[in-house]
Symmetry: C2
Subunit: 401 residues, 2 copies
C-alpha cells in the first residue's frame, strides 16, 4: 500500500482544515493509503521534506481540527516554474522516496496551477504512479468551474453579520454619519456583495464596475438627506475605469495631492470628507478576520469543505485520476443540495471568476434577488463548537510543533 | 399605579438591550409599574417626549431583544448642565405629565453623572416621587465601584478570539511578520488586556504605562529573531510619558514630520517599518465590532446584563431608592458567582477606573495570572442564538420604526 500527502497553499480560510479532516477520516474508514502525511508550508515543505504523520489522528483531535481556522499545515506562495523543471523532478523524487502516490493539494487558482502543472509533467515523463488532486478553497469565491468554493460561505457570513451589527451601531446616535466597510477581493466583488445578505447596504462598490466618483457621492448625499445615515461596502479592489485601484498611491495623489496609509475605504472616506459630502465618516477594514473567522462559520461551508476531502479520497482510488480538481455542482432541487464531481485542474488554474454583472443593481445599489438566492444557503447553519476556557478550542499548527 | 421609563446613553454594547429585557420581564412578572416606556436617544428623547410602549412585549420579541446588539432605543452624548437647571426642570415636568415615577438610565460614567445629578436636583427641590436609577453598561470596564461592567465580558471575548484567529492567520507563511491589533480604550487598558486571554500576545501596550519606543522596538526584534513573528495588541489610547497620544497628529509630526490617517496602530506600524525593525507589518483595527459583537457574546455577560435590569426593578420598589447605581460584587467562592447590590451613582460619575498596574507584566509582556483569573469567568459560555436566514435575528431599533 502506498502513501498520500496533503498540503495547503494560498490564503487561509475558516474551513480549510475541514478538508484535511475529511481526507484523514475517509482514509481511516477506508484505508486506501498506508500513511496520510501532511507537508508543512505547501510546495516549500514538500521540497524540504518537512512531513508530519496524520494517519491515525484521534477522533477528538479531528473534531477540533475541523473548527480550527487558518492553515494548520502552514501555507506558501511558492510557484513552480514551468520553464525550469528542477523542482518538478525533485518533487517526483521525494514522492518516490516516501512512496507517496497521491498529493492532495488544497488551494485556489495558484494551487490548481500547481496541480495541473505537476500532472502534466508526470504525463510527459510517463510517470503513472505519482498523482495530483486539487481540493478547492478560497474565501474569494473566484474559482471557475465550481458552483462556489469552500471557504467563501463562512467569509460571506462573517461579512454579512458584521455589516448587520455595525449598521445597528451606526444608527444609535441622531447625528448624520457615513459608515464604510472594507472587504477583501482584489479582483472580484464576491466578498463585498455578501454584505448585502444583511439587507442594510446603501452603496456597494466592487471591482467589476468602474468607480464613478460623482455617482457615489450623489448617492451618499441622497441617503444622508433621506435618513441621516449611509452604509457603504467597498472591495479592496475597487478601481477607476482605467484600472487604477482607489487604494493606489497614484489615485490618492491625483485626488488629494498627497498619499496616506489605508486602502480603498480610507480613500473614499477622504473623498467624502474633503468634498463636504458628509462631516462624519467611520471606516472598518475587516482585515484578516474575514478569512479566519472562528465563531461565526457556516454549517453549509464546514460540511462541504469536509466532504470535498472525503470525495477527493474516494476519487483517488481510480489509478488514472490525476490533474483534477474536485468541484461542487448545485442541484436543481427546491431545497439546496450539492453534488461533488471534478474537472481538469487546468480549467481553473490562474483564471479569476468575477461577480456576474447581471446580479448587480444599477447605481451601486447592491445585488439582485437572484444573487441573494444564490448566496443564502451558503451561510446557513452553525457548526458544533468545542469550547475551552470560554474560547473555541483549536489544534496547534503543525509547523509550530 | 405609576409608570417607569428606560433610556440608554453613551456607546453601545453587545448586551445593553438585555438590561432593557430584564426590566420589562421583571415588570411583567411583578407589575410594579402600569407602563414601561422607552425613551428614544437618551435624555434627548425624554426632553423631546419621544416615548415607545414596552410593557407587554411578547416573550419571543424579548428573546430576540436580548441578543440584539447596540442600543435599540438609540443613544445620546447629551449632558445636563449643572449650572443651568432648565433641562432638569423640563425633565421633571415631563415625567410628571406622563406619571413616570422612575427613570432607569442605562449608561457609563456620563450616564451615572446624569443619574446622580437628577437625583440631587430632585432632593434639593424636595421632589420625592421622581426617582433615578442607574444600570451600568460599558465595554471599557472603566466604571468604579462594581467588580466589572455588563458589556465588558462580550467585548473581551470578541477581542480574545479575534486575537487567537488572527494569530493563527499570521503564522501560516514562513516570512517574518508583525501583527498589530488595535482595541478601543481611550483611557484604560481593560479591552487591550483581554486579548491576553488568547495566550498569544507578545507585546501589550496600554494607556496605563507610558509608551517606551526603544523598549517596544527591542522586544519586536527579539520576537522576530526568536520565532519570526510578533503579535502586538495596542489600546487606541496608548500614549507617551507626557500624555500625548500615539494617535495624535503632534506625535506623528514629531516622529515622521508628517501626519497620516489611522490611529495608534498605524503609528506603531510606521515606526516599525521606518526603523527597519521588521519589513512586514499588518494592522487590524477592531473598530465598532468589539462593542456590537453579535455572534460571540459571553453567556456570563448576557445573563448579568439581564439580571441588572431585574434587580434594578426590584430595588425600585423602595420609594426612597434614587440616585443609585446597581453594581456587581464577586463572591469569595471557588466557582465564580456574583451578587447584585448598589452604590451612590455619584461615586461612579465621571471617574475612570484604569487597569491595575500590579496586573501588568513588566516590559509590555502582558498580564499576570491573577488578572487572567479575574477575566476568565467573564467570557464563559455561549448564549442561545435565534437565527433567521442564516443570520442572527434582531429587533428593529425603535428609533427607526
Amino acid at each position: 500500500m502506498s502513501n498520500c500527502l496533503i498540503a495547503q497553499s494560498g490564503g487561509p480560510t475558516s474551513v480549510i482544515n475541514a478538508t484535511i479532516a475529511g481526507l484523514i477520516k475517509a482514509n481511516q474508514q477506508d484505508p486506501v493509503y498506508e500513511h496520510v502525511y501532511g507537508a508543512l508550508n505547501g510546495i516549500e515543505g514538500i521540497l524540504a521534506e518537512k512531513f508530519v504523520e496524520l494517519t491515525n489522528l484521534p477522533e477528538e483531535e479531528l473534531r477540533i481540527l475541523i473548527q480550527t481556522p487558518s492553515s494548520v499545515l502552514g501555507s506558501c506562495r511558492y510557484k513552480l516554474q514551468r520553464d525550469n523543471p528542477e523542482d518538478h523532478k525533485k518533487l517526483i523524487k521525494i514522492m518516490a522516496e516516501h512512496d507517496i502516490e497521491t498529493l492532495f493539494y488544497i488551494g485556489g487558482t495558484d494551487g490548481m496551477d500547481t496541480v495541473a502543472d505537476m500532472a502534466e509533467y508526470a504525463r510527459e515523463h510517463e510517470i503513472t504512479n505519482r498523482r495530483f488532486i486539487g481540493c478547492p478553497k478560497t474565501i474569494d469565491n473566484n474559482l471557475v468551474m465550481t458552483d462556489h468554493c469552500p471557504g467563501y460561505g463562512s467569509a460571506a457570513k462573517y461579512i454579512a453579520f458584521t455589516a448587520l451589527q455595525s449598521w445597528l451601531d451606526l444608527n444609535v446616535y441622531t447625528r448624520p454619519e457615513v459608515f464604510i466597510l472594507e472587504t477583501m477581493g482584489k479582483d472580484s466583488g464576491w466578498l463585498a456583495a455578501s454584505a448585502c445578505l444583511s439587507g442594510i447596504v446603501d452603496i456597494l462598490i466592487v471591482p467589476e464596475v468602474p468607480f464613478d466618483q460623482e455617482a457615489v457621492l450623489n448617492r451618499v448625499r441622497e441617503c444622508i438627506k433621506e435618513k441621516n445615515k449611509c452604509y457603504i461596502v467597498i472591495s479592496e479592489g475597487a478601481r477607476y475605469a482605467d484600472g487604477t485601484y482607489l487604494s493606489s498611491d497614484k489615485a490618492k495623489m491625483a485626488a488629494f495631492g498627497y498619499t496616506f496609509s489605508g486602502g480603498a475605504s480610507a480613500m473614499l472616506q477622504n473623498l467624502i470628507l474633503t468634498t463636504n459630502t458628509a462631516s462624519r465618516v467611520r471606516v472598518h477594514d475587516l482585515s484578516v478576520s474575514q478569512r479566519c473567522n472562528i465563531v461565526g462559520r457556516s454549517l453549509t461551508d464546514v460540511t462541504e469543505a469536509l466532504n470535498v476531502g472525503e470525495v477527493a479520497h474516494e476519487y483517488s482510488k481510480d489509478k488514472s485520476f490525476t490533474g483534477k480538481m474536485i468541484i461542487l455542482r448545485r442541484k436543481d432541487t427546491r431545497e439546496y443540495e450539492v453534488e461533488y464531481t471534478y474537472t481538469d485542474a487546468s480549467e481553473a488554474a490562474g483564471i479569476v471568476r468575477t461577480f456576474p454583472e447581471e446580479w448587480l443593481l444599477a447605481g451601486n445599489r447592491g445585488i439582485t434577488e437572484e444573487a441573494l438566492e444564490y448566496l443564502r444557503p451558503l451561510i446557513e447553519g452553525s457548526p458544533e463548537r468545542v469550547i475551552k476556557d470560554g474560547l473555541p478550542a483549536f489544534v496547534r499548527p503543525y509547523y509550530l510543533r
